[in-house]
């Protein structure tokens, strides 16, 4: 295992060395004006140069360094709760540098608040009942890499997902204290990250959720992740957490909430961002903006987190597998695996979730009939009866919502 991790790191270093030497070291000189100093310094290692993401393991796969986007390899998501340093990073802009939790405030405004209000982080903690919830966050573009024709954007494979225990307060408690008008339609967030261009008038991202979603018991404003401060890259010191929706709805570095009397029209709410065709289209179709609808629910999905793909075992050995499954629905009711490319499916052991939107753990023990190359596939079915396709689900221009079953490669030798 240690060897494997080491190999992985070596390979990562090798692959990124050429680009990183230049980009990591060159970035502060060439593009420095828009970078926070937290993204640098660069860590130097014996084997080469690696741009270090603050608070994050160097085992994450770096997809983009400006803005920072990095995903978690499947086998590193094996823990019940994803450790803070392994939780994926999806930034749209540049995080604030050195935000201070003691000075942090959250204000409420918009057409549909009865009056504007501002709370300090301390007030939020003291005035409302704190809750701890285990919630899975998944980027809407997780799995984009597999779409054909390819979709633009960060080419996530399977690792733009993680599940953590969040400490915070229920939005509905705070919104009740703020006081909403009857025409409240949408909750919009604004964060302290800045636009890539450095233009202070532009928001890098300002999205949100329908007011009904904001009123769910599991919709929270959080200041802790797994019992510690939220990592800077994941929104320190304050963020929204909405389970079952694209993670882009869960605003980071949260400084303002606007309650709108219409669907929010902030950055990356319109056009084609975080939208799919309202009606299904053929692969490669051009879809007008007016024909694109906002993604709300994330589909049922699962991930095999043990063993890491590429395992070789002996014919007389049985193979334990395990992983997680999640959905926007009430729960996962079944996880199955196949070792014959989907001809036969067998059920896995499945554990219940602590609360809604927590991922559920599954496991199985597999016997292989003979030696050879196998793929282990996993597919989950949720309480609504929805399941995962084994080929790609509906093509969409920006490559969202790929919940095709996860596959790992196994060799059985005599």
């Amino acid at each position: 295992m240690a060897d494997k991790v080491h190999n992985h790191r070596r390979k990562f270093l090798k692959n990124t060395l050429l680009q990183s030497i230049a980009l990591a070291i060159g970035a502060p000189v060439v593009y420095g004006k828009n970078l926070t100093k937290d993204i640098l310094p660069i860590a130097l290692f014996e084997e080469g140069i690696l741009s270090k993401i603050p608070g994050k393991s160097d085992l994450l796969t770096l997809l983009n360094d400006r803005p920072v986007n990095a995903e978690t390899p499947a086998h590193l998501l094996d823990n019940d709760l994803t450790p803070n340093d392994l939780f994926f990073v999806r930034n749209n802009g540049i995080p604030p540098s050195n935000p201070d939790k003691n000075q942090w405030t959250l204000s409420f405004d918009g057409e549909s608040v009865k009056s504007k209000k501002t709370y300090s982080l301390e007030e939020l903690k003291n005035k409302f009942e704190p809750v701890k919830l285990i919630i899975t966050l998944e980027c809407g573009g997780n799995g984009r890499k597999e779409f054909n024709p390819p979709a633009k954007g960060n080419q996530w494979s399977t690792g733009a997902v993680g599940c953590a225990e969040w400490t915070g307060v229920k939005l509905k408690d705070v919104l009740k204290d703020v006081g909403l008008k009857s025409d409240a339609t949408y909750l919009a967030y604004y964060g302290k990250d800045s636009h890539l261009s450095g233009d202070p008038k532009k928001d890098s991202i300002s999205r949100g959720v329908p007011i009904q979603k904001a009123m769910e018991d599991e919709s929270i404003i959080a200041w802790e992740m797994n019992g510690k401060d939220i990592p800077l890259m994941n929104g320190y010191p304050l963020r929204l957490v909405f389970g079952g929706y694209p993670a882009s709805c869960s605003g980071k570095w949260l400084s303002k909430i606007a309650i709108r009397n219409k669907v929010h029209d902030g950055a990356k709410m319109g056009g084609q961002s975080y939208r799919i065709p309202c009606d299904p289209v053929a692969p490669g179709a051009k879809v007008e903006d007016s024909e694109m609808c906002i993604i709300e629910n994330m589909p049922v999905k699962s991930l095999i987190t043990y063993p890491q793909t590429g395992a070789t075992i002996k014919k007389n050995q049985s193979l334990p597998i395990r992983g997680h499954a999640w959905t926007h629905e009430l729960s996962i009711k079944l996880v199955e695996y196949s070792i014959d490319f989907g001809i036969n499916w067998k059920p896995c052991n499945l554990l219940p979730a602590t609360n809604r939107y927590a991922w559920q753990n599954f496991s199985a023990e597999i016997q292989f009939p003979k030696t050879g190359y196998y793929e282990v596939w996993a597919r989950a079915t949720d309480s609504s009866g929805d399941s995962q396709p084994i080929i790609l689900p509906g093509w969409n221009p920006k490559g969202y919502l790929n919940n095709a079953c996860h596959r790992i490669a196994i060799k059985v030798e005599s």
Partner: protein, 169 residues
């Protein structure tokens, strides 16, 4: 005859002296080696640089590369990891001052697709009018970062898999 004899004696003496010197030198080497074996081993097996030194040198190398903005190796522009050709300068000037080259290199699109992305950046991200350069930029992107047909679902990337023996004990 006398001279010849002298010459022979000289030869004999000088050979003898050389041999004695060689033996003395060898003995000294052997004595020194056995006496200071550990130190010698350490000397030859020492790490070439300690970590700090290595980091310093790496930084120096990197700073040299900052000066060598346009170094190209095997057709790849080292600093950005991008394919280098006559149109690369248009990418450098118009794209990379705003975003990472990874934003381009991890994506694939047709000429039309790249064109749409440029329009999207102009509409929403504050990208300037590219003027005549747009043709060169689209030539570059559609040549080097064009899509491959992967069907309805690609095979697992067998070449990328690092096979390992799973320890099940």
């Amino acid at each position: 005859m006398q001279e010849n004899n002298n010459w022979n004696t000289d030869l004999l003496w000088s050979t003898l002296l050389s041999m004695i010197s060689a033996i003395v030198l060898l003995s000294i080497t052997v004595i020194v080696y056995f006496g200071f074996r550990n130190d010698i081993d350490k000397f030859f097996n020492r790490p070439k640089y300690d970590k700090l030194e290595l980091a310093k040198r790496t930084t120096e190398r990197a700073s040299i590369q900052i000066d060598e903005w346009d170094r190209v190796e095997k057709g790849i522009h080292v600093k950005t990891g991008m394919v280098y050709d006559k149109n690369f300068k248009f990418i450098k000037a118009n794209c990379l001052s705003c975003h990472s080259s990874k934003m381009i290199t991890q994506n694939r699109a047709t000429r039309q697709g790249w064109h749409q992305m440029i329009r999207w950046m102009q509409k929403t991200q504050g990208l300037h009018d590219l003027g005549d350069s747009e043709v060169n930029i689209l030539d570059y992107l559609s040549t080097h970062y064009a899509p491959k047909d992967t069907g309805r679902r690609p095979n697992l990337d067998i070449d990328a898999i690092e096979w390992y023996v799973l320890d099940l004990n």
